[in-house]
Subunit: 84 residues, 6 copies
């Protein structure tokens, strides 16, 4: 099996939910969502094969964006919404 | 690849979740949802090709409106619901 | 294009999440959900054509009612659940 | 059109999210979900025709139970989880 | 109709969201989800007929586990996450 | 029936939502999601048969990652987001 590299399997990249800015927080949310997929399916060849399918399917793109939205709720709350 | 312009890839347009009004907050939520899609699929031609498909499909429209609803929960909480 | 009238494109009808009663709050939630759809697809003819499809499909009705439920979570929190 | 009776179109039956018990709160959540569907599709004949379809479809039943779960989150929070 | 027994129709088994442990809280969440389905479809024969369909379908299992996750959010919050 | 081992049926592995780090919290969230599936379908042969289907289907992977995101919201809140 052509396995996803170890750094792609980290559940919380950077080890913390705290980020300096909303922009970084949202990038973290997206990465967390992606790494969930890697952990469920760590075979890189299968992931790469699926990419052209879901990434050209509007419904899949909407579904993927929803996971980011849910992860971001958590990251934003952790950061008190960066209210300063 | 005909790439989405850089400003369409910003995760949090404006760099903050704080907005003056609920109206602006909801517009931000919608833009954040759209930019998630851009980041997952930055090829503008594929995005443009998908537009007539999902935007005439009631189920896709419902799904897309749900992502906005989830993003808006975060933006509204960040703004203490604009309670004033 | 036969465009949705401007008032159907307002993100937060009335400009506030605060309502006098839960009944009004839930009506606002439903309207916000509908206006999200209008903003994604502002062509009235396409919307009208889709109506008989989703509104006679139980799964679509369930999906639409879920968006209202999510929007209502936000409106209800904004109003401190009208605890009085 | 054979219209859903007026009481089936009330957004928040009873006019309040506050209930005496979790049992009543969850019954309210279910009723709110159902009334959302009524408001989107108030034609009783169409609703009655759809009932045998979704109510014998496991995926539809799961989807409908999810809407109740989301509505209940709101009702439970409104009641401070009936912690007493 | 071969009806689900009365105890399977209770919305909140035990009448409270408060449990001694997370383990019991999660079991309650799962039971609440199941009882929602019973209330929507109380015909035991239809439920039993649907069981082999959804329980061997990965997508249905994922969907059902999501409802449990949502119910558990409510139960966990009610119990202050059993922080002790 | 080739039954899932008892430890795979524990609703909250470890018996607590509290973890030392976000990384462990997210791993717990993923395990909780998986154990929900085990509890709904405890037949190991059916689960193993379903694995190649959903794990090579991008939409299923997105759906599964969403359940993890929802579970993680609960675990993260329980841990006050590990703010320290």
């Amino acid at each position: 099996m052509n396995r996803v590299p170890d750094e792609g399997l980290v559940w919380v990249p950077g080890g913390t939910l705290i980020t300096a800015t909303p922009e970084e927080g949202r990038a973290l949310a997206a990465m967390m969502a992606r790494h969930s997929v890697h952990n469920i399916q760590p075979d890189l060849d299968i992931l790469v094969a699926g990419r052209p399918i879901y990434s050209a399917n509007p419904d899949s793109l909407i579904a993927a964006s929803q996971v980011i939205a849910i992860e971001f709720q958590t990251v934003a709350a952790a950061n008190n919404y960066w209210r300063g």
